[in-house]
Symmetry: C2
Subunit: 347 residues, 2 copies
């Protein structure tokens, strides 16, 4: 499995902090020399690089649960790749691994956070998706915060996305009525016909989202898994049932805004209906990742949970794909393939 290592590679750095929607010019693609592999270090050729909405937050110069990416620094992100050189006894060339190496074609690891992937479980790309951060986000956000009960109605926004598609399918397995909110007829057909959601509501169709949701949720909404915030969430709030739970996973609609946008105040309805909203970050549940990943792996292998990926080729296309992600242009878990996938070569 040894392969020639080039003398240079490409990476994407943050060129400047966009005030609103990012432009391609906010990123810079650099070609840099291949590093030498130091003591205990592992050199990884990145095969799949993950693009996720949270990355927009890292482009801001604001302290959050993670520190911002600095100007001139490599954009952060999850990656799946192949070890091409190793001075670490725990890894050898050809190993398939996952780590947050960022937007770059090659990355050095000290091995501490490098996780070996078993390609017999599922395609290795899923380590960035359903068996990775987004899948675990769905798992813990739904089960731990949403706490779905059989017969309840679960609504998820960005329902065909990396997290939403998993949330809906897990909620179906919990015996819930599941309604997904997605943009456009294709995505709606996918979650309904392919993933088995009970109903799909197209937030781009018509101008009475609340009415459409009311129609799709005749018994109200018990769990709202929120990925988007903004007007979509505004339409959900009035339909929340007593004792509803709202896992706050993300607020894509707000990520490009310089200041908080204005929207209808939503606190009062939450009082009498005893709604619980709770923000979470998947890493809060890190000690329980492995059993969850195993369980999810079983569900994927048995075909009880499906997933859809949206794969773009070439690191030079990452900035444009990321901008599209924030606009909802992707269809499924967005990945950038930076080079050949050794597990699918020749297939």
């Amino acid at each position: 499995m040894s392969q020639a290592i080039p003398t240079s590679y490409r990476r994407v750095v943050l060129a400047r902090r966009p005030p609103g929607e990012p432009a391609e010019s906010d990123f810079r693609i650099e070609t840099v020399p291949m590093p030498t592999v130091g003591t205990n270090q592992v050199l990884v050729r990145v095969v799949y690089m993950s693009l996720d909405p949270y990355m927009r937050g890292r482009m801001r110069d604001v302290a959050s649960y993670a520190k911002p990416v600095g100007i001139g620094e490599v954009m952060e992100g999850g990656t799946v790749g192949e070890v091409v050189a190793s001075n670490n006894p725990a890894f050898k060339p050809g190993d398939l691994v996952e780590e947050r190496l960022g937007w770059q074609e090659y990355g050095l690891s000290n091995g501490h956070a490098l996780r070996r992937i078993d390609p017999s479980l599922a395609p290795i790309s899923t380590a960035n998706g359903i068996l990775g951060m987004p899948g675990l986000t769905a798992w813990f956000g739904l089960y731990e915060i949403g706490q779905p009960k059989p017969g309840e109605t679960v609504v998820v926004s960005a329902a065909s996305g990396a997290v939403g598609q998993v949330v809906g399918q897990l909620a179906k397995l919990s015996g819930c009525r599941v309604v997904g909110i997605a943009g456009g007829a294709k995505k709606c057909a996918f979650i309904r016909d392919e993933l088995g959601f009970d109903a799909a509501v197209d937030y781009k169709a018509g101008n009475d989202l609340e009415g459409a949701l009311r129609h799709a949720c005749p018994n109200g909404i018990d769990v709202y898994f929120d990925n988007v915030g903004g007007p979509v969430t505004d339409a959900v709030i009035p339909l929340l049932n007593f004792w509803a739970r709202v896992p706050l996973c993300g607020s894509i609609s707000a990520y490009n805004a310089e200041r908080p946008e204005m929207g209808p105040r939503l606190l009062w309805p939450m009082v009498g209906r005893r709604v619980t909203m709770r923000g979470f970050i998947v890493s809060d549940f890190a000690p329980r990742f492995e059993p969850a990943r195993r369980a999810m792996g079983e569900l994927v292998r048995s075909g009880r949970v499906k997933y859809r990926e949206d794969i773009v080729d070439g690191i030079e296309r990452a900035p444009r794909a990321f901008i599209g992600l924030l606009r909802g242009e992707n269809f499924g878990k967005l990945l950038v393939r930076l080079g050949p996938d050794p597990t699918t070569m020749g297939r």
Copy 2:
């Protein structure tokens, strides 16, 4: 203790549903004949009638956790009074009792919800206040949802009000830094100097509430007990710490609005900081009222927790006092005294 029972009494009914801020003309004061006391019934002369912000919600024709007051029906509310006639073996004339008899000078009870008050614990008016619904609201909202830990910072809005004053003092007893938000210098001095809050922030002073709060909360805010919503809450949200808890007790600022007002969207900051917001109604904790009331009674008797009442005399002044309550014009727990308090007569 037997006393002459008049042949008629006064009560306040809802005359119409106000679209915005209520006017006195939205209420009607009626004089009606004294009812006859049926089998097992108890006739209570109301001494203190409670005025609370939640009553504004009952004036709306909207299903909530409680059904609305109908047009022409007596306004709902907690009352403290004296039994003046009884066909119920469990009660006798002279008993001091508490029940939700509404805005009226006399009320009939079947005895089921009638609770005898021990006047040796505290003045009987407190059964509408610190030893009643508002005090229990503070107790359960703070302890169960706020979950204050020693050294944490607790902020409470409407801090000199019936609930807020109790929240702050209980949080002090829990070893927290306590900051109250109140309107005007007098209320601020009261919570700081009389009740022992660490700091008071006057939301009517200046126009940088967030800055004033930041100054008062150098370590951020771990618990925000929200009674008001609106711009005051907007100023608190940016200062919430990681893992902050926000018991949603009320949203006074929204009660007079026909539709939800617009405000800055607050969900995104809650995600990364893992904020939990949870609406509650005191009756959720009804099975645990008695031990909480006993504990609060001890705190009041020992002087470790103080309270302030704002007492208005005469049922005819109830509508105006209620309108003022929604404007924040009261100073302490607002009560209307409808007749002589038998425990303080002659003192």
